[in-house]
């Protein structure tokens, strides 16, 4: 007996037309598996036939074999029954496999295409959407689909076929008796409807409470140091107990809904059987019906009410899967803002970057940049300096085409960034983000993320070039050290080194460097500085600088404030000019004279 807790919240529930559209689209998406889907349906129809055949043959053998004393006719029916049972075995087996193959293939395609679509989206999409929601599309929404495919779809289809098949079959055998047997329908109908509505609400509540309890649990465990530090163990246990009690009560509420549905449907089934005996018996006595037909009726009725139950229980699951499918289709339909043109122009290997009259506003927001002009020569290093939120990172991200400018144009080697393909651009312009983000896998895997085909020797050469090979070799397993689960925890500085090594391996013409704001662990900082220096050598560099040492190391400094470049020149020029940059520099020097003095 499956207890599916697939509740759907009211706002997620689709109306009939929308559900039909979603299902039709899903069917179209099946593509090559469509034939298999139809085949599995046919197998199930045939299987339903074998299920109905058994009771029918029992009834028939009573009439034409047993009561007539005709042993041959009895044996024929027995042989038929045996054949039906064996055929049923193979049909059922075939249906399970075929349906699973269709469903699992569909799921696999869905996982891949939704994920690829996500990766193709521009940064503005990620600014807009919450990471947690996007992850849940790929996890809980796909899971609710997969739950349906693994547990529900076969049962749902089979139950539906059995219900319809049995009803139609019984009508053919004796419409009079069947009509009278339908007296139980209102009871079952009302109970089913009530169950569906109440159970949806109850299961949804249970699911929410489980979520609350689990997060309370998690909070209590991961905050245990604080709890103990402030001697709050008892209070926290009490607090948790309240949450836990609410979950228990929610469970009990759902039990009240679920506990009575099954008995009601079962009782309705028994009542129908009684009707078949009473009214069917009368029809037999009256000579209108044979006893075999009544027996077949009684046996078939046993299989009529189980599908009703299954359908009611699975209905929520189907609903929530449809709602999830709708959300996934929504993601697939999301337009991609930064896309490759149909006929992309190839970028030259090197070239100057030219920003002309560029303005930018985040979707719907106020202008962050307007009328920006700057030309950065091949191999030149430019530092972008300015207060937080003044637009320096935005400008750097536009050069890397994380976004497209809302006005003006940016060219690389004379080619408009929008005219080429994003992946081609990424071979030439690499962005090193603030934090050295690590992916699951080894250090080597992490360095290779920009060039997955690089050999170990190439990775080592790249590390050597920026002078961090010794540092990586110092790890227990060198390049093969796992960085996440069960591996060494890398410090912030070491993560930065991995990040720089990625860029070194990618060997791009242009490096966009988003400097970390937080300081690194002592001991790594100097290595990072040296690695950075050798990485910058021979490349065009745009550095979003937070440290003076970085801006001093660049050929030119662009001070960005109020959505535009307000000062541009070499470090010395700007200091001499006595403008905003000079003021920054002066206050930094005052700071140096204070307690923070270092030799």
């Amino acid at each position: 007996m499956g207890w599916f807790t697939g509740g759907v919240s009211e706002e997620d529930k689709l109306d009939l037309t929308a559900s039909r559209e979603v299902l039709a689209r899903a069917f179209r998406l099946l593509g090559p598996y469509r034939a298999k889907a139809i085949r599995s349906f046919v197998l199930l129809v045939l299987w339903t036939g074998t299920v109905l055949a058994g009771p029918y043959l029992v009834g028939r053998s009573i009439d034409s074999g047993i009561r007539a004393g005709d042993r041959a006719a009895l044996n024929t029916s027995v042989a038929g029954y045996l054949a039906a049972a064996i055929a049923g075995y193979f049909l059922y087996r075939g249906a399970v496999i075929t349906l699973a193959r269709v469903g699992e293939n569909f799921l696999r395609d869905m996982r891949r295409s939704v994920f690829d679509r996500l990766l193709d989206q521009s940064m503005s999409f990620y600014d807009r959407e919450k990471a947690g929601v996007l992850v849940s599309r790929m996890t809980s929404d796909i899971d609710s689909l997969s739950e349906l495919i693994q547990f529900g779809l076969l049962m749902f289809t089979a139950a539906l076929l059995q219900l319809v098949g049995t009803t139609v079959f019984l009508m053919f055998m004796s419409w009079k008796l069947m009509l009278v047997c339908l007296v139980a329908i209102p009871i079952v109908g009302i109970a089913s409807r009530k169950f569906q509505r109440d159970s949806n609400r109850a299961f949804l509540d249970v699911r929410n409470r489980i979520g609350t309890t689990l997060s309370a649990l998690q909070e209590g465990i991961s905050g245990v140091r604080i709890v103990q530090a402030f001697a709050r163990e008892d209070l926290e246990a009490e607090r948790f107990s309240e949450t836990n009690q609410e979950l228990f009560e929610s469970h009990m509420a759902s039990v009240k809904v679920a506990a009575w549905y099954l008995p009601i449907v079962e009782a309705a089934g028994t009542i129908t059987t009684a009707v078949a005996i009473g009214y069917g018996g009368w029809l037999v006595r009256d000579g209108q019906l044979s006893i075999g037909v009544v027996v077949a009726f009684i046996l078939l009725l046993q299989g009529l009410f189980e599908p009703v139950q299954q359908l009611s229980q699975l209905f929520n699951l189907v609903q929530s899967a449809t709602a999830s499918l709708d959300k996934l289709f929504g993601l697939l339909d999301e337009p991609i803002e930064v896309d490759a043109p149909l006929d992309p122009v190839a970028f030259p290997d090197r070239g100057e970057i030219s920003v002309r009259g560029v303005g930018f506003a985040y979707s719907g927001g106020p202008a962050v940049l307007s009328g920006v002009d700057i030309t950065i020569g091949a191999g030149e290093r430019v530092a972008f300096v300015g207060p937080t939120g003044a637009g320096k990172s935005t400008l750097a991200k536009l050069v890397a085409r994380f976004y497209d400018p809302t006005e003006g144009a940016i060219t690389f080697g004379g080619v408009d960034l929008r005219a080429g393909s994003p992946s081609d651009l990424r071979q030439r312009v690499v962005v090193v983000p603030q934090e050295g983000y690590l992916f699951a896998g080894t250090i080597g895997d992490n360095i290779r993320i920009a060039c997955p085909t690089a050999t170990d020797a190439e990775v080592r050469a790249a590390l050597e070039k920026i002078g961090v090979l010794d540092r990586i070799d110092a790890f227990e397993n060198g390049l093969d050290t796992e960085v996440r689960e069960g591996g060494s925890r890398l410090s912030g500085g070491e993560r930065q080194l991995v990040s720089l090594a990625r860029a070194a391996l990618a060997d791009p013409a242009v490096l966009v460097l988003d400097e970390a704001t937080s300081s690194l662990d002592p001991g790594t900082e100097q290595i990072v500085e040296r690695a950075l220096e050798s990485l910058m050598t021979g490349r065009t560099v745009i550095a979003i600088a937070h440290r003076l040492s970085t801006s001093q190391r660049c050929d030119r400094v662009a001070v960005i404030d109020g959505g535009g470049i307000i000062e541009l020149g070499t470090h010395d020029e700007l200091v001499a000019a006595g403008g905003p940059y000079a003021a920054l520099f002066a206050s930094w020097e005052r700071g140096l004279a204070g307690t923070d003095a270092t030799p």
């Binding site: 699992e104 891949r112 709050r232």
Partner: protein, 603 residues
């Protein structure tokens, strides 16, 4: 592997068994009621086919009034329904009660377990003890009344069939035990596949999660194709595991369906001839048919229950492992009290040796005979390279761990002679990673003393330099944090953590690397708060930024678990080469105009 574990777990003296037995004994009243209801349900249910049989023989083919048998069938159906409903309520209630109680127990126990245990145990592991393991456990409790009913049905049906016609009964029943055996095998074969799907799905979710949270790195290095290929591999793995599960279903479900059908064929084949011979009646033939149908579900469930029971016992074993771990840091049998005093307390370490890991292991000591004394009201900074033991000093004072040798005294009393509650009220700590709980800002600040008045909370917030930004929030102190609440900056979180420590008005305040996770351009804000709360209070500061260290009256330089120098910041800076080299890194001021302006103005 799982098979081995299951085998071991079924041993009657295994902790899993003991726990399950105890859980069942705790619920014996409820379970007894559940079993009684199951008995009633069984009796009524078994009567139905019997009434149908008599209805056919004596009603349709005989002279009995038809309505009599019809009414009896309806009655039996309704009575069985009522019993079934109550039985289900009772079963679920018992199970959920056990689940809730054990979850409470687990949580309370986990809260009291010593820090060293938590260092070694992943959060996720404890989570699954209190979640999935408990689910499996409660599942079996649900099964108790259901299984009772099922066993009774099987016994009752077999007796009735044997009594009617033993030969036909044996023929009909011969294939049915296979339903149980197949059911059991199905459940234990399917289980690893389901775990496999779970595992592979989690791995797939890992790729999704890392790609989305690390989207900047993915985009920046153009590694979308790499991540896409990773996901494709994971999607294939999920596919393969799912297909394995589908094949297990395909191998067992149709067979489980086939066995009773074969029984029915036999009933018709042999029973049909018996009717022709006049040995049994048509009604009895139909009754046999119905009884075989009635056995399918219980037999299948009996098979599953064995497999589920084994898993539940294995789960119980894991649960009892947590519950039977005794907290290592306990209150002394005859606790002493701290002397009454206002303001700071004194802290002294005498020849303290400490090493992580289990006692007796030959690990290198983290602290190797440390001796120092901190006067009331004095602030001392502990400085040293990563791994020198400075954080350990901070964690030993509130007795998160016990020293291996030597003693640690607070106001002259060994910390092991104090009740933990009293000790930890007297010592407050601010950690490097500020953990805030979901709840309001006020809840978080008044964590040490939930009864604190708003004025006290405000006072603490003010001293921690948090009042201004809290009051700027629309809901002020009632602003919810965490989960769907407000996300604060690192500096703001840290100031709330400081306010939380200050509210307890501790004798000793420990700032354990409290500024290192904060953006350096914002560190000056925290530094101001720290200077304020340290004023006149005994404070232990763990830091590596010079400006923070300079706040302390005295500096202790640690190296490889030993004290190598003490003195004030300027003194050490002038005289100690090692001290200079440790501070030389990570100290360059930042080029954030806001920070520069404020810092510059201060000086």
């Amino acid at each position: 592997m799982p098979d081995k574990a299951e085998e071991k777990a079924t041993h009657p003296k295994s902790p899993g068994w003991i726990l399950l037995r105890q859980a069942l004994v705790d619920q014996k009243a409820g379970l007894f009621v559940g079993m009684l209801l199951a008995l009633g349900w069984t009796a009524a249910r078994i009567l139905v086919p019997r009434f149908i049989q008599l209805g056919i023989d004596r009603g349709i083919q005989g002279d009995d009034p038809l309505w009599l048998w019809a009414t009896l069938i309806v009655l039996a159906g309704v009575v069985s329904g009522v019993f079934l409903g109550f039985r289900r309520m009772a079963a679920f209630r018992n199970a959920r009660l056990i689940e809730a109680r054990y979850r409470d127990r687990l949580f309370a126990h986990i809260q009291r377990l010593h820090m060293a245990y938590h260092d070694e145990t992943a959060t996720g592991e404890l989570m699954s003890r209190a979640n999935t393991d408990l689910q499996m456990f409660q599942n079996v409790v649900t099964m108790v009344p259901i299984t009772t009913g099922n066993v009774l049905i099987v016994i009752g049906v077999v007796i009735i069939m044997m009594w009617t016609n033993p030969v036909l009964a044996l023929l009909a029943l011969v294939g049915l035990p296979a339903v149980s055996i197949l059911g059991r095998r199905f459940s234990s074969r399917l289980h690893p596949s389901l775990l496999g799907i779970q595992r592979e799905s989690a791995e797939l979710a890992g790729v999704v999660e890392e790609s989305i949270t690390g989207i900047r790195a993915v985009k920046g290095f153009g590694s979308a194709p790499v991540q896409s290929a990773k996901l494709a591999v994971e999607a294939d793995d999920v596919f393969n595991e799912s297909m394995d599960a589908a094949y297990v279903r395909a191998n067992y479900l149709p067979a489980i369906e086939l066995m009773p059908n074969l029984g029915l064929v036999v009933v018709l084949a042999y029973g049909g001839h018996l009717v022709i011979n006049g040995t049994i009646s048509v009604g009895e033939l139909v009754g046999f048919n119905l009884y075989v149908l009635m056995l399918i579900q219980p037999l299948r469930m009996l098979g599953t229950v064995v497999a589920q029971g084994q898993r539940a016992i294995a789960a119980g074993e894991r649960i009892s492992e947590v519950l039977s771990t005794a907290p290592a840091i306990t209150d002394p049998p005859r606790p002493k009290s701290l002397p009454k005093r206002s303001g700071g307390g004194s802290v002294s370490f005498e020849q303290v040796v400490f090493s992580y890991g289990s006692a007796g292991s030959t690990t290198v000591p983290v602290l190797d005979g440390i001796t120092f004394h901190i006067e009331p009201g004095e602030s001392v900074a502990f400085v040293g390279a990563t791994g020198c033991g400075k954080s350990t000093v901070a964690h030993l004072v509130p007795r998160f761990y016990d020293a291996v040798a030597g003693s640690i005294k607070l106001d002259g009393i060994d910390v092991r002679q104090l009740r933990r509650q009293e000790l930890r009220r007297a010592v407050s700590i601010v950690f490097e990673d500020t953990f805030l709980f979901s709840g309001t800002i006020r809840d978080n600040i008044s964590f040490a003393n939930p009864d604190a008045k708003l004025t006290e909370v405000r006072q603490a917030a003010m001293r921690a330099g948090a009042l201004d930004f809290i009051e700027e929030l629309e809901l002020g102190f009632d602003t919810p944090l965490g989960g769907r609440g407000l996300s604060l900056s690192g500096g703001q979180r840290q100031r709330i953590a400081i306010a939380r420590a200050v509210l307890a008005d501790p004798r000793v305040l420990i700032l354990d690397d409290a500024t290192s996770a904060v953006d350096p351009s914002k560190e000056h804000e925290i530094r101001g708060a720290m200077a304020e709360v340290m004023d006149g209070r005994t404070t232990i500061v763990i830091a590596h930024r010079p400006a923070t260290i300079a706040l302390a009256d005295r500096v202790v330089l640690l190296d490889e678990g030993r004290i190598v120098a003490t003195g004030d910041h300027a003194e050490l800076l002038a005289t100690n080469e090692r001290y200079r080299s440790i501070l030389a890194t990570g100290t360059e001021p930042e080029l954030d105009p806001d920070a520069v302006a404020v810092d510059g103005g201060d000086r």
